[in-house]
């Protein structure tokens, strides 16, 4: 038994049985988020795309919430962003389609977005994948916030 008053470290970490978990998670979470963006923008060249990237990005926020608590996570990713995020994603995707209309093509035919058809396709895919990323990330976080807020914090004995 260590006395919290005699050991200075115990003031900070003594009552926290999950200190290892928190330190390692703090190191991992930025890497997970970075990997999400790699998956997003590398989707043209390898496996991945907006959907997978969105889930991974949401997982980094969810991991943060699991380790540091929901209140801290809501400070890092405010719930009000969710409402804007999920609509913005759909609007970005649908808006790209509408933009093709205006530029004289068919709905979601990106060929006229760039200086030639191939460049247009590249821009179009980039835009719609960004829309998918925004919607998927925010919806996954929304579902977690909605369910996670309904019960008291999990106590250690529950596991």
């Amino acid at each position: 038994m260590t006395d919290p008053e005699t050991t200075p470290v115990a003031d900070k970490f003594g009552n926290d049985p999950h200190v290892l978990l928190r330190v390692i998670a703090k190191f991992l979470i930025p890497l997970i988020a970075l990997f999400a963006f790699y998956v997003q923008f590398h989707g043209d060249y390898g496996p991945g795309g907006g959907f997978q990237a969105g889930v991974i990005l949401a997982a980094s926020v969810i991991l943060y919430a699991l380790i540091f608590g929901l209140a801290e996570a809501k400070k890092a990713f405010p719930p009000r962003l969710i409402r804007y995020g999920m609509t913005l994603g759909v609007i970005l995707y649908g808006g790209t389609g509408i933009l093709n209309f205006i530029l004289g093509g068919e709905f979601l035919n990106y060929s006229n977005l760039g200086k030639d058809a191939v460049a247009g396709q590249h821009y179009g895919i980039l835009a719609v994948e960004l829309g998918v990323l925004t919607t998927v990330t925010t919806v996954m976080i929304a579902i977690f916030y909605a369910f996670g807020s309904r019960q008291p914090e999990t106590s250690a004995e529950d596991w």
Partner: protein, 227 residues
């Protein structure tokens, strides 16, 4: 092409076949463990294991994009969502008596028999003449290199050739999020609620999220709630 003929084919080397068989065997073991398990926490974790093993199997089938999605969604997010839903339920499930399981057993046996019957009509693995590899699929593979000019055909199909479908999927995800927000609210206490996990009574005011939520009830409603 039967399984044995496929095994003799130089493309399907013995190690790959062995890997596939051991991954599938692992899936069966996990599935039986899932059925036998009584602790809900263990069940949720085993579901994650099941997803991860099937993701590994998809990789061995060269379906990397599917494997990626399975690992991220099946093993990652859905495990967490099941955990957060589980906290509102009891930790252990009570066994269902044998006589009430015969109906379910019949359904499973019938469905399994129907699937086994259908296996005979399926094209062989990697068959060039199968519907998935013929017709429009060949067009996508052939034309992606000149029309879209990105190396990953899957992305080209999902985002460009099948942009309508993906738009539909995004709208589906959007409506799922909308439904959850309308029913539960972001703070989990959109309405007044109470729950009894593990015999411990909690309501919207004793939950940790209660402190962060603004109390919008009128004084009459408050008096009614406290009564």
């Amino acid at each position: 092409m039967s399984l044995f003929a496929a095994a003799a084919d130089p493309i399907f080397t013995v190690p790959v076949i062995l890997l596939d068989i051991s991954l599938l065997a692992l899936l069966v073991v996990v599935a039986f463990a899932l059925v036998r398990m009584r602790s809900l926490f263990g069940i949720v974790m085993l579901q994650g294991v099941y997803s991860l093993v099937s993701a590994a199997w998809f990789v061995s089938l060269d379906a990397v994009d599917v494997a990626f999605t399975e690992a991220a969604v099946g093993a990652g997010v859905s495990t967490v969502l099941m955990l957060s839903a589980m906290l509102l339920a009891d930790r252990k499930s009570t066994p269902v008596p044998m006589r009430r399981q015969f109906g379910a057993l019949m359904v499973v046996v019938l469905a399994g028999a129907a699937m086994l019957y259908a296996v005979g009509d399926m094209p062989a693995f990697g068959d060039v003449n199968s519907p998935a590899n013929a017709y429009v699929g060949m067009d996508f593979i052939g034309k992606t290199a000149e029309e879209i000019q990105i190396p990953n055909v899957v992305t080209a199909v999902l985002a460009s050739y099948r942009g309508y479908d993906t738009f539909g999927e995004v709208v589906v995800i959007f409506s799922a999020g909308l439904g959850v927000l309308l029913l539960l609210g972001l703070n989990g206490n959109a309405g007044r609620w109470e729950a009894k996990p593990n015999g411990q009574y909690i309501n919207d005011r004793s939950a940790p999220s209660a402190a962060t939520a603004k109390d919008t009830r009128t004084s009459d409603q408050k008096a009614e709630g406290e009564a």
